[in-house]
Structure formats: structure tokens, C-alpha cells
């Protein structure tokens, strides 16, 4: 792990800890801070999985000729569908 990866992970952790502290002190926005920190670290976890699976090309981007591009497309659609699901949930919930 290089120093820049450590920096990016630290940013996510700092936001997550700030969210936890805000929750403890009952400050508005704690859920948002926890979510942003959590999603940031989720992004870093995806990065770690891809990196150690050899999915990244040495010149940047995805390694062509491997399973990585197809898997990313599938995963992208899956995450998009999760977004649609949350949208439908919020849309119905607010209707009540």
C-alpha cells in the first residue's frame, strides 16, 4: 500500500469517525457523514479487490483482454439497479 492509498483511506476513516462523533453528540448530519465515510471506504474496498485481483492495467484503466471490463459492466448495472431500488423505496415511502 503506498502513501496515497493510505491518505485516501484516512480521509474515508476521518469522515466515518466524524459521523460517529456527531451521532454521539446528537449533531444533525451524522447519518450523512457516516454514509459518505462508509461509501468512500466501500470505494476503497472495491479498489483493493480490483488491485489485488490484477484487474487494473499497468498504464491505468482496466486490463483489457481479462474478465475485468465485463465484470465492471455487470457490477455497474448491479449498482445502478440498487440505486433504482432505493429510488422506488424512497418514492413510495414519501407518498405515504
Amino acid at each position: 500500500m503506498n502513501q496515497y492509498e493510505v491518505l485516501l483511506i484516512s480521509i474515508g476513516l476521518a469522515v466515518l469517525i466524524a459521523g460517529a462523533a456527531m451521532a454521539f453528540m446528537r449533531v444533525r448530519g451524522w447519518l450523512a457523514a457516516l454514509s459518505v465515510g462508509g461509501l468512500w471506504l466501500f470505494g476503497m474496498a472495491l479498489y483493493a479487490v480490483y488491485k489485488y485481483s490484477g484487474f487494473y492495467s499497468p498504464t491505468g484503466g482496466l486490463a483489457q483482454g481479462t474478465i475485468a471490463p465485463a465484470m465492471t459492466t455487470a457490477l455497474g448495472f448491479l449498482i445502478f439497479l440498487v440505486g433504482v431500488g432505493i429510488f422506488v423505496y424512497v418514492y413510495r415511502r414519501i407518498r405515504r
Partner: protein
């Protein structure tokens, strides 16, 4: 409220068609001259960067970076600028706002990653039709939507092999694509000539230019760390980002906005119905 006249509609539609035609011409220009970084110096859209030079754009980029970064931290801290004054704009940040942020992150990140396996030039960039969602989420959902766009871009960077220290610039830069039309458009309905013209100006053009220069400045500053040569940043990356954003935000976003504004507004999810502004 009186309905806008036919002349006003004609003018706004003519302006929209001109913007779209301009970027279709730019697309033709890029394809005919070649998409590779070597051919980028000949593109029409690259000429302002070639003529005015790196130092000029670095100075402009520095100003836009400072303003954009201040605005990002102001907005997420519950403040905003109104008439040269900083005022409080209280967001609820309840389960609905946080869900909006999460859904925008998932929709935007997923849409970007879904085409991440189709690079235009491997290692540089990819086709990003998902960019059409960024200004839309800012316009409809305000700060929670813009924050979702920023996170979505970060996740897409991780999934497509572009995550680096440069992604911090991409995080705030993508927030700005959503923030600019949210902040500067007065009519978000996509149903009036004024709304259309405002969108094409702020969402289609200025937002795309701002994000391009914002990220380019960050990459230029960190050139010793990231390693992307400055000539490539200003002579290829910056014009490409403007084009890649504008071509979809000028064509797809207004249609999505027209379809989604009314149901979002009716359910009380539109940002203006969810914030408390304290003057």
C-alpha cells in the same frame, strides 16, 4: 402566471439546437481528426487551450479551484451564498436526504461503471453517458444529490481503474457539475423557455467547463505525483472532459429533467421543498 409566447419558445429551442449542433460538429471534428492524444492538438475544442497556453489556464484553474472548493465546504456545512452574502440553508439530513445521497451515488456510479469497460483510449478515459445524470441530480435534489454525484464518481473511479490521489479533485469536481445548475438556475422545471436557456448555459456549458478546468488544475498541481504530463492535461484531458460532459448533458439531461421534475416535485422530494433558508 402567463404562458410564454411562441416567439420565446422558438428562441429557446433555437438556442438549444445551436448548442447541440455545435457539440455534434465538435464530435465530428474529433472523430475526423482522430481520438488519440497525438491528434488532440488539432481538435477545434482544444484550440483555446493551445492558443492561450498552460500558464493562462493554470491561473484561471487556480481561481476556479479555490471558488469551487470553498463552495463545496460551504454547502455541505449548511451554508450557501445568496446575493454576495453567506446565509444558512438548513438541510434536514434525515433518512430521506441520506437515501437521496445514496441513490444518486448508486445511480451515477453504476451508470458510469456500466460503460467503464468500453474505453476510448485504454488508460485515459472511457465513454461516460452516465454524465447526463450529474446536473440532473443537482437540479432535482440539491446538495444531497450533488454529494451523491461526488461519491458515485469516486466509486466509478475505483471500478474502472482511475482511482488515485487525483480522485479527490474528481470528487469535488463532480459535485460542481451538479452544484452549478442547482445554484444558478432560477427555474428548474425544464418546462419554460427560461428554464431551458438557463440549463443550457449553466448545466450544459459552464458546469462542463468548470469541472474540466477544476480537475485539470488539480492534476497539473500534482503532476510530479500523478505523472500525467502537463501538455497532455491541458492539450487533451481538459478539452476531452468538456466534450465528454457536454455532449450528453446537452442532449439527454433536458429530456430526463422534463420527465422527472414533475413526479419528484409532486412527492415533495424537490430540494426547494426540503430546505429551510435563514436570512
Amino acid at each position: 402566471m402567463s404562458r410564454p409566447g411562441t416567439a420565446l419558445w422558438s428562441i429557446s429551442i433555437a438556442i438549444a439546437i445551436l448548442f447541440i449542433a455545435l457539440f455534434i460538429f465538435i464530435a465530428y471534428d474529433i472523430v475526423s481528426k482522430g481520438i488519440s492524444p497525438d491528434a488532440a492538438g488539432k481538435w477545434l475544442i482544444t484550440q483555446p487551450f493551445v492558443v492561450l497556453g498552460r500558464d493562462f489556464w493554470f491561473a484561471i484553474g487556480g481561481m476556479l479551484w479555490v471558488i469551487g472548493t470553498i463552495m463545496f465546504f460551504l454547502e455541505i456545512s449548511g451554508r450557501t451564498v445568496s446575493g454576495f452574502r453567506i446565509i444558512r440553508q438548513e438541510l434536514r439530513w434525515d433518512a430521506v436526504d441520506v437515501s437521496i445521497t445514496a441513490l444518486c451515488a448508486a445511480l451515477y456510479g453504476g451508470a458510469l461503471a456500466a460503460t467503464g469497460g468500453i474505453p476510448i483510449i485504454p488508460g485515459f478515459t472511457w465513454v461516460r453517458p452516465g454524465n447526463a445524470l450529474a446536473p440532473l441530480f443537482g437540479i432535482l435534489f440539491g446538495v444531497p444529490g450533488a454529494l451523491g454525484v461526488a461519491i458515485g464518481n469516486f466509486i466509478a473511479d475505483a471500478l474502472t481503474g482511475y482511482l488515485s490521489i487525483g480522485s479527490i479533485g474528481g470528487f469535488i469536481g463532480n459535485f460542481i457539475i451538479a452544484w452549478v445548475p442547482y445554484k444558478f438556475m432560477k427555474d428548474h422545471s425544464f418546462r419554460t423557455p427560461r428554464s431551458l436557456i438557463e440549463y443550457y448555459l449553466w448545466g450544459g456549458i459552464i458546469g462542463s467547463i468548470w469541472v474540466s478546468i477544476y480537475i485539470s488544475w488539480w492534476l497539473d498541481l500534482l503532476e510530479p505525483v500523478i505523472g500525467l504530463p502537463r501538455a497532455l492535461i491541458w492539450g487533451w484531458f481538459a478539452p476531452w472532459v468538456i466534450f465528454n460532459n457536454s455532449i450528453v448533458t446537452l442532449t439527454i439531461t433536458p429530456i430526463l429533467g422534463y420527465i422527472l421534475y414533475q413526479p419528484i416535485k409532486m412527492r415533495g422530494l424537490y430540494w426547494k421543498d426540503r430546505v429551510i433558508i435563514k436570512r
